[in-house]
């Protein structure tokens, strides 16, 4: 299956918070994230997090990002690959 056809869902072991214009991922379960550091998201990453819903394909998320931000489809895809890899690494998403 192509990467763009994959579907991811959020893990219930991590909670997204927006406080004082900061986007934060708070790990709540053992072995998820690291208590000595905290993951913050930039605006685009926070929007991607919102769009991950267990139903949308990566392709659809990419199209939304291209539509909403000034970015080429190629760059959006490259960034999405990197971003989703990192979210997988901290067990924030499954799929």
């Amino acid at each position: 299956m192509s990467f763009l056809d994959k579907v991811y869902k959020k893990s219930d072991s991590i909670v997204f918070r927006k406080i004082a214009d900061e986007f934060i991922l708070v790990p709540i379960r053992q072995n998820v994230g690291d208590l000595e550091s905290i993951s913050t998201l930039n605006e685009v990453a926070a929007r991607i997090w919102e769009l991950i819903d267990g139903e949308k394909k990566v392709r659809e998320i990419k199209d939304k990002i291209v539509e909403e931000f000034e970015v080429t489809p190629q760059q959006a895809e490259k960034d999405l690959i990197e971003y989703l890899k990192q979210l997988k690494k901290i067990s924030a998403i499954e799929g």
Binding site: V15, A20, Q30, S37, I38, T40, N42, Y83, Q86
Partner: protein, 363 residues
């Protein structure tokens, strides 16, 4: 488009960054909920403990549902760090449900406990859903000393068991002590023991009166001279005072009564739903059974922060203000007036300043 990676930043740095933002925007990022004033111990110096089976307290305490509702409200207003304390939080049979609810809302939780009610089941749960830290107070390194403070036979073993249960499961843990006239002789042994476990240790050498106005805890204070001796014996503590002194020397820079920072981004809620800006300033409160947290935070607390001293206020002219623990709430409890300096704290501060002056001269 910015690079969409996820920067992981050092926790301390994140905390410093976000705190400066939330103070400016007055976001209640740091909260404390006292889930009960009841406790299975009966510590001589406690500022609030009620008997474990106090029926009136049980009837008045917030229900699980009410606490969940409050948690929803504080999360909505931007609370990120939440401490659960008491009394003893684990005295409530539904505490783990409360903890779990708050945890799943994305709050970063500190659990302040005496450790004696931690069972293998509770420790397992905390392993699976870890707090930012559990903090246990260790009142002595021997049964005799520990239980002279807690006044409950068997509590020393149970506390050590609680500590071990958390250590075995690698639950983030901090240990601390409150220095009283009954356990002061064991302070450094407690420190040595705690640090031998690889755990961070801190102590508090100053006791305040009970919230109900009783001055009984003050009977167990160590002398002002002893407090300053402890400052001087603990390099980390001494360094904090030196830095504080360099940054903030002189009288307070504000004409307000509250200049400590409480209520700017932090708050406390008692077991009966009263909202306060801190642990010691309890008069008056905003009742969350009758009004919302938002109203309390945005209308009620700012009114208190605007209060100015009435009549003579010696602290306003004191050069040693930054070296002092004077607090209007504490003064109210001990002297009956928010304006009136607490003699015990004045004595400590004068001695502390003298010690720091001597240190400067020596250098």
């Amino acid at each position: 488009m910015e690079c969409s990676h996820i920067p992981e930043i050092n926790y301390r740095k994140f905390s410093d960054n976000i705190h400066s933002k939330v103070v400016a925007e007055r976001i209640p990022i740091d909260g404390t909920i006292e889930t009960s004033y009841r406790c299975n111990l009966n510590c001589v110096h406690c500022y609030c403990n009620l008997p474990a089976r106090d029926k009136t307290a049980v009837q008045q305490e917030l229900s699980f549902r009410e606490i969940c509702d409050i948690v929803d409200q504080i999360v909505k207003e931007g609370c990120l760090w939440l401490s659960f304390t008491g009394g003893e939080p684990l005295i409530r049979k539904d505490f783990i449900d409360i903890y779990s609810y708050a945890k799943k809302k994305g709050l970063i939780i500190t659990l302040l406990t005496n450790g004696t009610l931690i069972t293998p089941e509770i420790a397992d749960y905390l392993q699976e859903w870890p707090p930012f830290s559990a903090e246990i107070t260790l009142y002595g390194i021997t049964r005799k000393t520990y239980e002279s403070v807690t006044r409950v036979p068997g509590s020393f073993e149970r506390c050590l068991e609680g500590i071990n249960l958390l250590l075995e499961r690698k639950v983030p843990l901090k240990l601390k002590t409150t220095v009283t006239s009954l356990n002061k002789h064991e302070l450094w042994e407690i420190k040595e023991y705690v640090e031998s476990l690889g755990i961070e240790f801190r102590f508090d050498p100053v006791l305040n009166p009970r919230l109900d106005g009783s001055q009984e805890p003050c009977r167990f204070r160590i002398s002002p001279e002893e407090v300053v001796e402890l400052d001087l014996a603990d390099e980390k503590r001494l360094q904090t005072w030196r830095e504080f002194c360099q940054k903030f020397w002189g009288p307070p820079q504000s004409d307000k009564l509250y200049v400590c920072g409480a209520g700017l981004s932090s708050f406390l809620i008692n077991p009966y739903g009263e909202l306060y800006m801190c642990l010691l300033s309890r008069n008056p409160g905003h009742n969350l059974r009758q009004g919302s947290f938002k109203e309390g935070w945005r209308d009620f607390i700012p009114e208190i922060l605007e209060q100015k001293p009435e009549g003579e206020y010696k602290c306003a002219k004191c050069d040693l203000f930054s070296l002092c623990n004077q607090c209007p709430g504490w003064a109210q409890l001990e002297t009956g007036s928010k304006n009136k300096p607490i003699d015990y704290l004045c004595q400590i501060t004068n001695l502390r300043a003298e010690a720091l002056r001597k240190e400067v001269k020596r250098k």
